[in-house]
Symmetry: C2
Subunit: 430 residues, 2 copies
């Protein structure tokens, strides 16, 4: 009994299907990078609102009311943009597997945005301290940055992933700078050096610098240079920032600080953050252009593939599958293969080229993503503490930060130590 | 100027969207595991055809013609099934990002299947040696196993990924057993021990055992036991296999071998492979059931989510976002939150639970996937040799295998050594 072999769907169909997958993933990335762009602008706007809210609260509501209201209006406009952008992702997106994490982060952000009016009311009525307000804004901003992180972690193109990693680290570094601004401003304003806050400042400076290191590693030369230049151009401002940092961090605990330096510190930090924002904007633009460029490239490859006609292979031609692939330098040397074998052979070549390219993309992605591991390890350690010591997320984070400060170690080292204990802790699952 | 806050898409929408992503990915996995099932059956059928083709060629076409033809018919039926399965994936699949690699592997397989009739003709006319035919079948089977590998590598659910990793390693181990059968059969038939072939046999036995180790590590206890039992039940056959292996591998190169042992060797190996197939079938069934179970679970969670009504949060309730999450042991202790806060708070809790769960899924996936790294490293090293020493894939693989044999090292160690040289080799890209 001989069943005829079915052969309509040739390898060419799947060569094309694979290319379509790439294109869909790139289009997805274009949407995601638009989302990252709006997210970055909202983060910046919220950082400014946080700063102004602090100044407003510090002045017992006597100053900065007007600029704070203007800033709130700006935030609302960008928030509207972000919500529309979220909406369009929900509607236009195939529900990709990795999308679950992105959507889950977005759900969290939306809860935070819904809660913003209530937060503002607490500031309006001066019902919260500056520190409470700062922490609340920081939590929302952390949620927004987590969206950018997921975008970077799920990108399927190494060049784009690289830029997203650079951008995420830059944004995270800028947020540490923002927290430094708030903490330093409050410390100056208090008029007295305090050990815990000084430690916190040192950690924020350290974390900030490590983020900028990673940024430099992954950014394009052009953007890394742009940031280096921006930093150079304002050398005087940087020197002033470093001087004020030194005063803040080296004052003996309990000794007096000049409270009038609070506003100059604030302005000096703000200048730096605004400068960072211009670099960030350039990165977001360049990311968007890169996504479009890559999509166009893939589309034109798709057209090339679609123009190919699969040859019905004769018995001899078909055997090429089982024979050694022609090494590249021989294939390029002008030896013409027999007519008829040409087309089919070249599709097989294309299939193998594609497989190789996809493999090297995947290898490169693994490398780029490894750089996101630090954050993942910290998250994992936090989860472990929450599960085994019955802590809330906030408590777990504070515990680790406290361990880091007490032992004068980096947060990542503490996370690794916590994870190393995992084996001796009782398992919850399985 | 105050722009009203847009708030229709609440966090709940994205909680649901994230769940939909999970469901779509699980459905995808159901299709993929059906594909893996058919792939496994075709591999087994081709392994039998390869064996019978070898015996047919070794007998100069005087024996095994009839069973070979029957086997070819069986192969054709399953090939038809596989092609239909490929088709349905192309049509029913959102073009997921990781799908590109899977489709690219499928394109390669289809080329191989198109070339099968030509291969069979070479066997019919005895135009090829047994070794040539074996290598040709092995290449096609390697392509089919690569499909299973990609399925395992792209699975988004840790439990399913774990089973796919177990299954892939089992199938790969069985293929090494099949190559051992062919090589040993030919070596006995040749009547004379030969150093190169003896080395090759030892490597095949070693590779096989390492695959089965990984299988044991990742298989469910039930399936690992099933295989252990199947192996025990036929202890006599296993002892005979080990005896024949010893004779083959320890004979002094050049000394005579008993050619009449070729067929008993073949039968002994075949018995083992058939036993492996029954375990493999059980794994494929269990995989399919697991996919369905997980999909049902996720669907019922989706229904739960959809039944929730987002509360329009009052100002006070909304602030829960900025306050410490209630630790699990407190939340479960019966303290009733104020009415109104209940619903909204519980959605925020759900969002945070989901985020934590997705994070732990992602961590676990990283761990499972790490086990696929060995193969990836070998592929990457091969790619490096191809690029820098202008070798074909086949040549690169042979070179590495040769290095492993000469230096008495495992292939993975050679791959790591090759990759360690990468830095001193000239870069092609960037």
């Amino acid at each position: 009994m001989t069943t005829p072999t079915l052969r309509p769907p040739s390898g060419l169909n799947f060569l094309i299907a694979a290319k379509r997958c790439e294109i869909d993933a790139l289009r997805q990335l274009s949407l995601t990078s638009a989302l990252v762009n709006v997210t970055g602008r909202l983060v910046h706007s919220l950082q400014r609102e946080r700063g102004l809210s602090n100044l407003f609260l510090a002045s017992q509501g006597t100053r900065f009311g007007e600029p704070r209201q203007q800033q709130i209006s700006e935030c609302r406009v960008i928030e509207g943009e972000l919500r529309r952008c979220f909406d369009s992702l929900d509607t236009h997106t195939a529900h990709l597997g990795h999308g679950a994490r992105l959507f889950s982060r977005m759900a969290y952000v939306l809860h935070g945005l819904d809660a913003l009016p209530a937060l503002r009311q607490c500031v309006d009525t001066q019902g919260w301290t500056a520190r409470q307000a700062t922490d609340a804004f920081a939590r929302l901003i952390a949620g927004l940055l987590a969206v950018v992180f997921e975008a970077a972690d799920s990108a399927s193109d190494p060049a784009i992933s690289r830029q997203l990693v650079a951008l995420f680290n830059f944004m995270q570094g800028k947020e540490f700078a923002g927290q430094e601004r708030a903490a330093g401003s409050a410390l100056y304003a208090s008029g007295r050096a305090e050990r815990g806050e000084q430690q916190r400042l040192l950690h924020l400076i350290d974390s900030q610098e490590r983020c900028l290191e990673v940024f430099k590693e992954f950014a394009s030369d052009e953007l890394a240079t742009l940031w280096a230049t921006a930093d150079q151009d304002t050398m005087a401002a940087r020197a002033e920032l470093e001087r004020m940092r030194r005063v803040l961090c080296t004052a003996a605990p309990g000794s007096p600080l000049d409270a009038s330096q609070s506003l100059p510190w604030f302005d000096c930090c703000s200048l730096r953050m605004d400068r960072m924002k211009t670099v960030e904007d350039r990165m977001a633009d360049s990311l968007q252009r890169l996504c479009e460029h890559k999509t166009q490239l893939a589309l034109s490859e798709l057209l090339d593939f679609q123009a190919l006609q699969p040859a019905a292979p004769g018995a001899d031609d078909a055997l090429s599958f089982f024979q050694e692939p022609v090494p590249e330098h021989v294939a390029g040397s002008g030896q013409a293969p027999a007519y008829g074998a040409q087309v089919d052979r070249s599709i097989l070549d294309l299939v193998q080229d594609q497989a190789r390219r996809l493999q090297s993309i995947s290898d490169e992605l693994d490398t780029v993503r490894a750089s996101l591991n630090e954050r993942k390890l910290i998250e994992r350690a936090k989860g472990l503490l929450m599960a085994h010591r019955q802590l809330s997320e906030e408590e777990a984070h504070k515990t680790m930060r406290q361990m880091a400060m007490n032992q004068n170690r980096r947060l990542i080292d503490v996370a690794e130590a916590v994870l190393a204990m995992a084996d001796v802790l009782p398992e919850r699952r399985r």
